[in-house]
């Protein structure tokens, strides 16, 4: 399949996931670019499900990005980033999502934003369907508590 067509078709879908994870537009755009460059460099043969393939690569890109930033440990940089990011989070629910651990956050994003079924989420994350179910339940419970606490 033509890679340009893939970009056009799925950039929005992949961007939703990335944005949900980092909740900052500029950061998400950089990561979207990194994701597609990785896809281009890969051989991409025998890809049956482009959606989940792209999401898997996007996910690795997001995690790599977090790892790198953590290892830098530049406190000023981190402070600035958090400040910038908070400006974008208008709703309580967005703040609540930001406070979730990456594991819980991603099942929630994949379910609610990317509208994936449990089976698909399990495939992308490489976990059991039952784990998706329990993580989603925990994510919702934590959000519920966060929202009640911040009322």
């Amino acid at each position: 399949m033509n890679i340009e067509k893939i970009f056009r078709e799925y950039n929005d879908y992949v961007f939703k996931y990335i944005y949900g994870m980092v909740q900052n537009r500029a950061e998400a755009e950089d990561l979207l670019q990194d994701t597609f460059i990785k896809v281009m460099k890969a051989s991409n043969k025998d890809i049956r499900n482009w959606k989940s393939y792209l999401l898997t690569i996007a996910r690795n890109t997001v995690y790599d990005h977090w790892r790198k930033r953590k290892s830098k440990l530049n406190l000023d940089f981190l402070k600035l980033k958090t400040k910038e990011r908070d400006i974008e989070l208008k709703l309580d629910i967005e703040k609540g999502i930001k406070n979730l651990s990456p594991k819980l956050k991603e099942v929630l994003i994949l379910r609610e934003i990317n509208k994936m079924e449990y089976r698909e989420i399990a495939d992308v994350l490489g976990i059991e369907k039952g784990t998706v179910k329990s993580r989603l339940s925990r994510a919702r419970e934590e959000l519920k508590n966060f929202l009640e606490y911040n009322k």
Binding site: I3, E4, F7, R8, N11, D12, F15, K16, Y19, G20, R25, A28, E29, L32, Q33, F36, I37, M40, L91, I93, E94, I97, L108, R111, E112, I113, E117, Y118, K133, S134, L136, S137, R140, E141, L143, K144, L147
Partner: protein, 143 residues
């Protein structure tokens, strides 16, 4: 039934990911348990508010860069391949063949090969005929 252990079912219930027997179990339970009804209600509200979050679209600039990027790369590669094959054709094949000047005319518009020589200010143009490369009398200018 313990309501704590029910939360997972409630969460899967709103995702429509339950088997029929579990659906009935949930519906029966929330009928009589206010606590679980409230939980279900908040889960549903949470779901709705997440779905209503406005997610920006990637900017046009980024998309253009992404969509043009592969094409640019492919183009570069093609240019390289064409350049390399021309070089090989010119360097290896042409030199042993005879060189007779021939007119480039309307009657023999063929595939032309251009040999560029650093020392020679003129390019020599060849075309292929019966497996041989024939030198034309063309020298310089646009082709």
């Amino acid at each position: 039934m313990n309501c704590e252990s029910f939360k997972e079912l409630l969460s899967a219930y709103i995702d429509a990911e339950l088997e029929r027997t579990d659906i009935l179990k949930v519906e029966e339970h929330i009928e009589q348990c206010k606590k679980c009804r409230d939980i279900l209600n908040s889960y549903q509200n949470i779901s709705l508010s997440i779905r209503s979050i406005e997610i920006p679209k990637p900017s046009e600039k980024v998309l253009k860069r992404l969509i043009l990027f592969p094409r640019r790369n492919i183009y570069r590669l093609r240019k390289l391949a064409v350049g390399a094959s021309l070089f090989i054709i010119m360097g290896v094949l042409i030199i042993p063949f005879f060189r007779t000047g021939e007119n480039v005319t309307q009657e023999n518009p063929k595939k032309y090969y251009i040999l560029k020589d650093e020392k020679n200010p003129y390019s020599e143009v060849y075309y292929e005929r019966d497996g041989n490369f024939v030198l034309t009398n063309y020298s310089g200018g646009s082709f």
